[in-house]
């Protein structure tokens, strides 16, 4: 029998400072046994830091952590693991050079000795089968060879595997951000099952619909402290957004004033996916926002990269008539220069404009960075700080600034809003619309239906080819899902 109100974890006045930044400013948090707690808040509200405190990877400067009634002194990752705390971090914590089975072994010191490979493989594949039926992952696959969506599946499944230590608290930090809608649903269903078995769960997501849908209770954080804490049923989307603060509560639908007829403005991009059999092609004109939809990893990124290569002069049948910039989706791997400052990261795409003679003008670089810091509200005291001092969402903003601050007339976006909070998203949507009106073209691969509504025209991809070509008027979520899955049903 599970007592829903028995406390599993209790945080009491926890504070954590990074230099002058108060990441956590006196947090009291309780997670009950067998409870699913939703945690929402803007980028930089302190959610990730809080999770690091719970998993022992960051030590609180002040405050108490009580686990199952016992106060924890000298809390460490090893201690957290022993107590049964598992975490799926936002940055993937798999070793890309190891196989799926070996990554499971890394997590379980007990998996050694004769035949450890088979046992580790069976352990992780069983869990994958339970959470994501039909996942298509083999235990011997190298993680580096898997697309990001499947890597995320492995990461999630690994957190649920059990050998010597029990699983009592699962922390999921943006677990669905790299998953397509179908896999995300599978995960949420599985979480409910696990919670029903008495495991506690902390669920962090920027997709408010998900949080409202599956959590028992929701805590809203802002500026390092919690500002609301109530049953999920007492919230709705608008209330949550309002509690997070900073943005008006209404998700603005994109303006409907349809761009009369396509093809009035000059052509910017004409591309045919390599695996396209019929004559369908992707066309973008000046001032258009073109959406690339479909399940994750079905050729959208490939075509963006092909367009980028064509713009840089690679021999290719793709027609590109203007300068191009790319906003990367996997920001750790393809986006930020981790050793550089924020200003340098923003300026790198515009060096020609920023240089004086052979040298980069610091003054111009700073001007550019400060302009964009103000315009899209990058939360930092100084643009000369290292880029990694920013939270994930703010790093992504800097990458936007890099593309938008450049002279590129075409901006390619590779699902850049992964793990970005609602407020930032709304700001960026407006920015994109504003830039499009002034003649920029956007090619936007996204896995979120809300973002497709911002587009003038949407191409749906499946298995590396365009399977649907929808105008703004025709676009509905059902149509996109239908064409994403068509062949299978």
């Amino acid at each position: 029998m599970i007592v829903a109100d028995a406390k599993l974890v209790e945080l009491d006045g926890v504070e954590k400072h990074f230099g002058a930044v108060r990441a956590l400013d006196g947090v009291d948090l309780v997670v009950g046994q067998g409870e699913c707690l939703g945690l929402v808040g803007h980028n930089g509200a302190g959610k990730s830091t809080l999770m690091h405190v719970l998993t022992g990877t960051a030590l609180a400067d002040r405050g108490r952590l009580i686990f199952a009634g016992e106060e924890q002194a000298g809390y460490s990752p090893a201690q957290a693991k022993k107590l049964g705390v598992r975490c799926v971090f936002q940055e993937l914590s798999l070793c890309p050079n190891l196989t799926v089975a070996e990554n499971a072994r890394v997590f379980h010191p007990g998996l050694s000795g004769f035949n450890w490979r088979r046992r580790a493989g069976a352990l992780i594949i069983d869990k994958l089968d339970a959470i994501f039926p039909g996942h298509g992952i083999a235990a011997s696959d190298l993680v580096a060879d898997l697309p990001i969506g499947r890597r995320q599946m492995v990461e999630v499944a690994r957190a649920f595997t059990v050998t010597d230590e029990p699983v009592r608290l699962i922390i999921l930090d943006e677990p669905t951000s790299s998953l397509d809608a179908h896999s995300a649903r599978q995960l949420l269903d599985f979480m409910r099952r696990v919670v029903a078995e008495g495991v506690s769960c902390i669920f962090i997501s920027h997709l408010l619909g998900e949080v409202l849908d599956i959590c028992d209770r929701i805590v809203v954080m802002r500026d390092g402290r919690q500002v609301a804490d109530a049953a999920a049923s007492s919230f709705d989307r608008d209330k949550l957004v309002a509690a997070m603060g900073g943005v008006d509560a209404h998700v603005r639908e994109a303006r409907v004033e349809a761009h009369a007829v396509r093809g009035q403005s000059p052509l910017r991009v004409r591309a045919r996916p390599r695996r396209q059999v019929d004559a369908a092609e992707l066309v973008a004109h000046e001032g258009e926002v073109i959406g690339l939809a479909g399940l994750a990893g079905h050729g959208q990124t490939d075509i963006l990269l092909a367009i980028y290569a064509a713009a840089l002069g690679a021999r290719s049948p793709i027609e590109v008539t203007a300068t191009v910039a790319l906003v990367a989706g996997d920001r750790q791997a393809d986006g930020v220069f981790p050793l550089w400052s924020i200003a340098e990261n923003i300026g790198v795409r515009s060096l020609a404009r920023l240089s004086q003679g052979l040298l980069i003008s610091r003054r111009r670089e700073d001007e550019l960075a400060n302009f964009w810091r103000g315009k899209i509200k990058i939360r930092t005291p100084d643009v000369h700080d290292n880029i990694l001092s920013l939270s994930g969402g703010n790093q992504q903003k800097a990458l936007f600034a890099r593309a938008l601050g450049s002279d590129a007339r075409i901006v390619l976006m590779d699902d850049p809003m992964r793990g970005v909070d609602v407020g930032t998203k709304l700001e960026v949507y407006d920015l994109i619309r504003e830039e499009a009106d002034s003649g920029r073209t956007f090619l936007w691969y996204t896995t979120e239906a809300d973002e497709l509504k911002q587009c003038d025209h949407v191409y749906v991809f499946r298995n590396g080819a365009i399977v649907a070509d929808l105008t703004r008027g025709e676009l509905t979520e059902e149509k996109v899902i239908q064409s994403s899955f068509e062949a299978a049903s």
């Binding site: 998993t55 050079n97 039909g134 179908h182 299978a488």
Partner: protein, 326 residues
């Protein structure tokens, strides 16, 4: 219905990934086959028991040095001192190990412990291994010259006997290469701790979050490098019979090239022990027998050697790029 939806995007993938890995693994073997074909074409008589024994004799120490280098590369480090270290071990082998075996053994074991300490230093002080090992290369070289100012010394008899074994049917160097590859493969690729060692190069944060000691991993990797460096020095002296302080100098770059040729990468913990041994054999063959058969004058052999290295490595990069484009 839900099941069928999920299966459709993924149904063809696992097979494709395996093919990619297979190609990646076969690449080093292909380059070895290429060099062997060239030799067979230039001088068919070289492809014989005696020919291989002769051509590949020096490949054993190179293969051991390459495996040594592979261990540090697996942890995202580089050992620029391995050549000088092999030379130093050679000098110890040709002097102390013969004259005062106890001291000799103690010194060689001490060397391995010292390597482990270097690993600790690199990890704890967060120093670039390139700098540390570059500095160490001068230390080893200096010690070797102190020990043996002039070429000389003599290999212990047991070592000469070991390296002179003539097994039936299979030439000794090939047998040795197989054993070296098998030991390194099982140690690094098949054991459960080997996965942790490689993981420490792939994603150190993940490894430490999972509760493993990165310090220990780094020390183990460096100690393995020291161990195989010692074996390389022993093997080298077993073949050449006497030592010289500069005897191993070419090994630093050869070992790095061997690892890369064998499918390893400088960062990310991606290495292949079998590939590394094949890479070392390829380089050893391309280095001198091939050039001799091509009648390239000795004055030009070093330059030609470098040119072949560039061609082979460039081919590897081209092939792997093409394969990832598919």
């Amino acid at each position: 219905m839900a099941g069928s939806i999920a299966a459709s995007p993924s149904s063809d993938s696992p097979a494709r990934f395996d093919l990619r890995r297979l190609l990646r693994a076969l690449l080093p073997a292909l380059s070895l086959a290429l060099v062997l074909t060239a030799i067979a074409w230039l001088n068919p008589r070289a492809i014989s028991y005696f020919g291989f024994t002769l051509m590949l004799n020096l490949a054993i120490p190179i293969a051991l040095a390459t495996i040594a280098q592979m261990f540090v590369i697996a942890g995202n480090d580089l050992d620029l001192s391995i050549g000088a270290f092999v030379g130093f071990v050679g000098c110890v082998t040709a002097t102390w190990l013969r004259d005062a075996p106890l001291i000799g053994v103690a010194v060689l074991l001490g060397c391995i412990a010292f390597y482990a300490a270097l690993g600790a230093l690199v990890y704890l002080r967060n120093l670039p291994s390139i700098v540390v090992t570059l500095g160490m290369s001068f230390v080893w070289q200096g010690l070797a010259i102190l020990l043996l100012p002039k070429p000389g010394g003599k290999a212990p008899d047991w070592l000469l006997a070991t390296m002179g074994v003539k097994p039936p049917f299979v030439p000794f160097p090939i047998l040795a290469a197989l054993v070296i590859a098998a030991v390194a493969y099982v140690g690094l690729m098949r054991t459960s701790y080997g996965a942790i060692l490689r993981g420490s190069g792939g994603n150190p944060v993940a490894i430490s979050r999972a509760g493993w000691s990165l310090l220990k991993a780094k020390m183990v990797l460096f100690a393995c490098t020291g161990l195989f460096g010692v074996l390389s020095g022993l093997a080298l002296i077993g073949i050449t019979t006497s030592a010289d302080a500069n005897i191993g100098n070419g090994y630093t770059l050869l070992s790095i090239a061997g690892v890369i040729l064998g499918g390893g990468e400088f960062v990310g913990g991606r290495v292949s022990p079998i590939g590394a041994v094949i890479g070392a054999l390829t380089l050893a063959l391309a280095a001198s027998p091939l050039l001799t058969f091509m009648r390239i004058p000795p004055d030009w052999q070093v330059a030609a050697n470098g040119a072949i290295l560039i061609v082979v490595l460039a081919a590897r990069v081209l092939i792997s790029r093409k394969e990832s484009d598919r």
